[in-house]
Amino acid sequence: MRFVDEFRDADKARALSAKITSLCEPGREYKFMEVCGGHTHTIYKHGLEDYLPENITLVHGPGCPVCVIPMGRIDDSIHIARRPGVLMTSFGDMMRVPGSGGNFFDSNAEGTNIRMVYSPLDSLKVARQNPDMHVVFMAIGFETTAPSTAMTLLRAEREGIENFSVFCNHITIIPAIKAILDSPDLRLDGFIGPGHVSTVIGCRPYEFIARDYGKPIVVSGFEPLDILQSIYLLMLQLREGRAEVENQYSRVVPWDGNRTALRVIAETMELRPYFEWRGLGFISHSALRIRGKYARFDAELKFEVPGVRVADPKACQCGEVLKGVLKPWECKVFGTACTPETPIGTCMVSPEGACAAYYNFGRFTRTRVREASLS
C-alpha cells in the first residue's frame, strides 16, 4: 500500500538499528520518552523495540489523552449524559476509560445514550437528526483535536444549532512535559516529540526543553521507521553533545505550526487556571475551556456539573513510572489495588500503558517472546 509500506521497510529498519547500536556508549543506559500515545501504539503494534539494543529503554509518556483524564471528569460526563433528553457523543477510545462507577459502555447499560463519533462535526449531524434531544459532545484530546472542536463550535454558531453543546476536556501538551522535566528525580535522556500535536503548535514551543533543561527532542512521525529514525537522531545528538529541537516529521509538521488551527482554538477557547491529570495531579494552565463568547455552547454552564473529584489514591505512583524512576512492578498498588480491570493510574488504563502491558505480559520477558517466535 503506497505511503504506508515505504515507512515499514524491514531492510531500512535493520540499517537504522545498526546505526543506533553503533552510537551506544558501552555501559551507558539510555531512556527516551515517547510523549504521544500514538507513538506508543506504533512501537507496540510493530514490535519496534526488537530493533533497539538492550541499553535503550523507551518510556511511555503522558500523551494518551483518554488515559490522563481524571475519573472525576468521566463521572461528570456521565452525570450530564443522565439528564433527560441528553444524547452524548465522544471518540471511540473514550468509551472504555473507567470513571469511579464504570465507563461509558456501563453507563449506557444503565440507560444513557453515549455514542461514538469519528469527528466532532459528526455531532452536529447527530444534533440535526435528533431535534428533540440535546447533543453534548464530550471533547477530549490535545491540540491535535482541539481545532476540530473549535471548528464545530464555529459552525454550530454559524448554522444556529441550538440543541448542541460541548463538554470541554481539551488539554495542552507543554505543561505536562514541563511537569515531568521539573521532577528532581528525572531519568530521561531525551524525548520523541509528539507528531500530530506539532502539526498544530509547531516545533518552537519545545525550545525550552533543549535550552533550559539540556534535553534533546525530536518531533517524530507515526510510522515505525519514523520512530527509529527519531531515536537515531536523539542518539546522534547525545553522541555529539548537542541538545536541540529537531523535526523528523517535516513532511507534515511546519516549524511554526498551523496558524489557522491555532487561531480557531484561540477564538473559541482559553486556558483554564489549572486542570487535574490522572496520575500527575493538578497542573496549572494545562487545559482549555470554552470562551465566554461561546458560553451558550458550553455544557459546563448549561448543565449543573457536580465537579466530581475522585482523588488518585495516595499510593498511586504513576508519576514515577512515567518519569522512568520506577518500574511498573515497583509501584505500591501495582497488581493489587490497580489492575487492568480496575485501573487507578494512567499507565494501567490504556492496554499499551507501561503498567497494563507489564501486568498482562510481564511474565514473558521480551527475550523469551523473541526466541519463541524465531524458533
Binding site: 477510545d93 468509551m95 472504555r96 447499560a109 484530546g141 492496554p351
Partner: protein
C-alpha cells in the same frame, strides 16, 4: 539475554498469576456491548455465567458445535443468532448470513450439515417486503449448502423493542469424518492456515452503516464452507481443529486455541491475506484486520506434515483460492499468540476486551 526477574519482581508476578487463575467473574452489574463482541468480556460472560450454570461435558470444550453420538450416529448440534445492522449490505443480508453461519459452525466441527431451524424476532412496523427478501436469501443459501430449514418460530415485539429483524438458526449435522477434531488436540509443530483474505465482512458492514465517509469496493465474504471443509478433510488427514473466524476475527480464534491446547501460536503478519481495501480502511480507522469479523473464512490447525496437502486442498476450492499458511504452533510460551510483524518485530497478539475501538490519536 535479559536478566531473570529479581526476587521481589517474581513475587509480584506470582501474585498476578494467582489472580489470573481465579475463576472468571463478571464484574459489571449490567450487560454492555462489550459482552457481545467476542473478546475477553464475552469469554468471561460465557465461562462465569453460562458454562457455570449449564456445566456438562458436551458444552465444556466450547467448540463451535457440540459433538455427540446417538445410537451409533455421530452428530453435531449448533445455534447462532444474528443481529447485524444494517440488515442488507453489499454481498449479502441477515438471511444468508444466518444460514451460512450455522452451516459453517457445523462444517468446521467436521459435520455435514443436515437440517436447520430458524427463529424470527420481528419489530412491529418491519416491512413485509424486506422480510420476504431476507427469507428468499435464506432459501437460496440453504439450497446452496444442501440443507433444508425444517422448523421455525416467529415472534413480533412492539415498535422500538427490536431493530427490525433478528434471526436465530440452529443446525444438526452428521460427523462422517472419523477423526476427533477439537482445539484441545492442537499440538506444537502444527501449521495454521486461513482459507482466504480476512476482515471483508466486518469492514463491509462498518462502511454500509454510512457513518464513515469512506467508500470502498468491498463485499461481505459470507459463504458456506462445507464444500471447502469436505475437500480439506479428504485431502489432509492431519486436520486437528477448525474454527470459522466470525466475531473477534482470526486473532480471537488463535487465542482461544492457544489457551485450549496450552500452546503458543506464532503468526507471520506478512503471510496473512488481507485485501488492499480492508487494509486501507483499517489503517484509516485505526483498527487491526486480525480482529475484524469474517463470515466465510476458516482457520485450520493441521499436522505440520500435512500442511502442503491441506493448503492445496483449500486452494482447489473456489472459496479457498487465496488460502495461506499463516503460522505455526510452538510449545512456548503456552496460551499466547505471537505475531512476527511485517516490519520485522514481534508482539503479543492478545484478546481484545470488546470491539476494536477507533483511536483518537
Amino acid at each position: 539475554m535479559s536478566a531473570p526477574p529479581s526476587e521481589r519482581e517474581q513475587q509480584v508476578l506470582d501474585r498476578i498469576e494467582r489472580a489470573r487463575k481465579r475463576r472468571a467473574k463478571v464484574r459489571e452489574e449490567r450487560i454492555t456491548l462489550s459482552h457481545g463482541a467476542g473478546g475477553k468480556a464475552t469469554q468471561t460472560l460465557v465461562e462465569a455465567v453460562f458454562l457455570d450454570a449449564f456445566r456438562n461435558p458436551l458444552l465444556a470444550p466450547l467448540e463451535d458445535a457440540a459433538a455427540f453420538t446417538v445410537d451409533g450416529a455421530r452428530l453435531a448440534l449448533t445455534t447462532d443468532s444474528f443481529v447485524v445492522s444494517p440488515l442488507f449490505f453489499p454481498g449479502g443480508n441477515i438471511g444468508d448470513l444466518a444460514v451460512n453461519g450455522t452451516v459453517n459452525d457445523l462444517a468446521v466441527s467436521g459435520a455435514r450439515p443436515l437440517h436447520l431451524s430458524t427463529g424470527f424476532i420481528l419489530e412491529e412496523g418491519f416491512p413485509v417486503a424486506d422480510l420476504i427478501r431476507v427469507v428468499d436469501s435464506m432459501r437460496a443459501a440453504a439450497d446452496a449448502a444442501g440443507v433444508a430449514i425444517v422448523t421455525g418460530d416467529t415472534k413480533v415485539v412492539q415498535r422500538g423493542k427490536a431493530d427490525g429483524c433478528y434471526v436465530n438458526t440452529a443446525g444438526v449435522g452428521v460427523r462422517e469424518h472419523p477423526g476427533e477434531l477439537g482445539a484441545a488436540t492442537v499440538r506444537p509443530g502444527d501449521a495454521v492456515l486461513v482459507s482466504g483474505p480476512i476482515g471483508e465482512h466486518g469492514v463491509t458492514v462498518m462502511l454500509a452503516r454510512g457513518e464513515l465517509d469512506i467508500e470502498a469496493d468491498l463485499v461481505s465474504d459470507t459463504a458456506p464452507l462445507h464444500g471447502l471443509v469436505a475437500g480439506l478433510l479428504a485431502a489432509a488427514p492431519g486436520v486437528r481443529a477448525m474454527r470459522d473466524a466470525t466475531r473477534g476475527g482470526v486473532a480471537t480464534i488463535l487465542n482461544e486455541v492457544a489457551r485450549a491446547a496450552d500452546v503458543a501460536v506464532v503468526v507471520d503478519e506478512e503471510a496473512v491475506p488481507v485485501a488492499a481495501e480492508v487494509r486501507g480502511a483499517s489503517e484509516l480507522l485505526g483498527i487491526d484486520p486480525l480482529y475484524v469479523a469474517c463470515e466465510g473464512r476458516l482457520v485450520a490447525f493441521v499436522d505440520g506434515a500435512h500442511a502442503d496437502a491441506a493448503l492445496a486442498a483449500m486452494r482447489a476450492h473456489p472459496l479457498g483460492r487465496q488460502a495461506a499458511v499463516i503460522g505455526r504452533v510452538r510449545p512456548d510460551p503456552p496460551g499466547l499468540v505471537l505475531l512476527n510483524t511485517t516490519f520485522g518485530g514481534t508482539r503479543i497478539c492478545d484478546l481484545l476486551v470488546g470491539d476494536p475501538l477507533p483511536r483518537i490519536c
